[in-house]
Structures are given as C-alpha cells and as structure tokens.
Amino acid sequence: MTRQPANGPGNWVLLSYRMPREPSTPRITIWRKLKRLGVAQLGDGLIALPADARTREQLDWIAEEIVESGGTATVWLAQPATLPQERELAAAMASARSEEYRAVIDQATAAVAAGQPDRTRTVRRLRDELRRIHRRDYFPPTERDTARQAVKALAEPRTTADAPEITP
C-alpha cells in the first residue's frame, strides 16, 4: 500500500492487455480511461500504477471491460527489482503531471488580465482541471503548489489598486 517506501521498492499494480485492432472505439475508450488514471506505460499493452485499494480496483474494472470488448487482460501485483528503476518510473510520472500543472499555471496567469466574468469562468474550469490532475498525481511535483496558488490568486477578488470596479 505504501507509495514511497523508505527501504525498498513499493508495490505496483500492472495491467497487461491486448485488444483487437478493429473496432477502434473500445480501444480508444480504454486508452482514454488509462490516460485519465495517469498510468505509466511500461511497454506495448503493459501499464503500471502504484498499488492501493483504488488503483487496483480501477484496473480490475478496466481489465473486465477489455475482456468484454473481445480483448485479453490480466492484472498483476509487482515490485520493481531495484529502487533506481522505481525512481525512474516515478520521475517520468511526476514530469507528466508537472507538464499538466504548468498548463494550468499558464492559463491562470493569462486570465489575470481578463474581465471578471472571464476570470470566474476560468477559475471554475481550472479548479475542475486541478481536481482531475490531483487524482492521477501519485508523485507530486513542485508545480502542484504553484498551480494551486495560481488558481487561488485568480479566484480572489481584485483589489481596488489593480483595477477599480465600476458600479453602474
């Protein structure tokens, strides 16, 4: 259950799967679900997530869906053989998340100059986006807090100093 153990590599849940090339819709559906979970791609038809009750269950259901679409799927529990191997995997996942957080930071920064209705809409959208990223963020990068702060700052009402509100 431990995600970042002190003494050795932690437990991971692996999904090994194969799906028919056609029809392509189920393949795309499955791929989107895996992306949404933030999986690490270990190879062709082999993905991994740090193991906990939620990730194990999610991969079980996806395996079931693959089998129902005419594919094959097996779910495994495994440990990377060495710590450096696990660190490399975790670093790749963290870097994928930091890219997503940076996109949030950029959009929040760009919206600062916008009018109030635009800002409010952007805050709402970025909060949803942050929630999605948090759920698949297993090894939080430093950008996580920056992104949170950027959205929080955007949500705060403007002070009269930077733009006086005109009341009709």
Partner: protein
C-alpha cells in the same frame, strides 16, 4: 436471500446494498468476503470481478442491477449517475454531488465496519431518493 460482496465497501457496494434491500429483496442479508473463494454457495454475488451483477461495458454495478431487474424509475437512474461518477469518475455524467459523496463513503469506511457503513448509509440513500423524487415532481430543486 443472501447476497455477497467484497469486504471494505465503498460507494458502489453501499449503494447496491441499499438498492437491493429497497427495490429487489426486502429481506436481503449481506455477507462481506475478503477472498472470492469464500463466496457462500447460497449467496448472490455483486460488485465482484467476473460476476453478473458487477461492472459491465463501462457501467458500474448499481447501473447493472437497475438493468438486470428492469428498474426504470427515473429517480433511481438519477442516483445511478451520481454513484457512477463517485465510483468511476469518468465524466460520463454531470454529477457534481459525486466527489462529496465519494469522500463521505471513503471516510466512513475508515472508521466503520461494513455492517455499520450500511446502517449509516441507508438513511443517506433514502434521503437522496426522497430529494430527487421531489425534484423530479417539482421540476426544480426542492427547498
């Protein structure tokens, strides 16, 4: 009748147990098992891999039970959308209630046994049903 599901229940299993007791089998008795091999021969399993009353084609077990027992009540299908999003979070439905309900159930499962979780969630689901029943009748959110 006896019904069985995986131990340490969360949103989908708690909601399924409520649905079974209220709309399928009023005398339902629930067994929580940690290993699929422990499944009692006289129990109907639900929300377990490889059984009929489970996730199928992207549906969660609550939706599967509604389909399997021909439960067409729109209020139950409204609740199904919330359970689906709380369990799978795949944005098939717009259900802003889902994250809150999911966390409530996750928290309950940390401090309660499965039997206690069912005791506490029964009035919660009864209340949700009543709320969405009134909302459906009124055509807007009830006060």
């Amino acid at each position: 009748m006896k019904w069985a599901t995986r131990a340490n229940i969360h949103i989908d299993r708690a909601a399924c147990a409520w649905l079974i007791r209220r709309h399928v089998d009023p005398d339902a008795e629930f067994v929580f098992i940690s290993d699929p091999a422990e499944l009692p021969a006289d129990a109907t399993p639900f929300d377990m891999r490889g059984v009929e009353l489970s996730h199928h084609h992207g549906d969660c077990s609550f939706e599967t039970i509604l389909r399997r027992y021909d439960l067409t009540d729109p209020v139950l299908w409204k609740i199904a959308e919330i359970i689906h999003e709380a369990d799978l979070d795949d944005e098939r439905y717009d259900a802003p209630e889902a994250p809150g309900l999911d966390i409530t159930l996750r928290g309950l499962s940390m401090v309660c046994t499965d039997e206690q979780t069912l005791t506490h969630t029964t009035p919660v689901f009864d209340g949700l049903y009543e709320y969405y029943r009134r909302a459906t009748l009124l055509g807007h959110e009830p006060a």
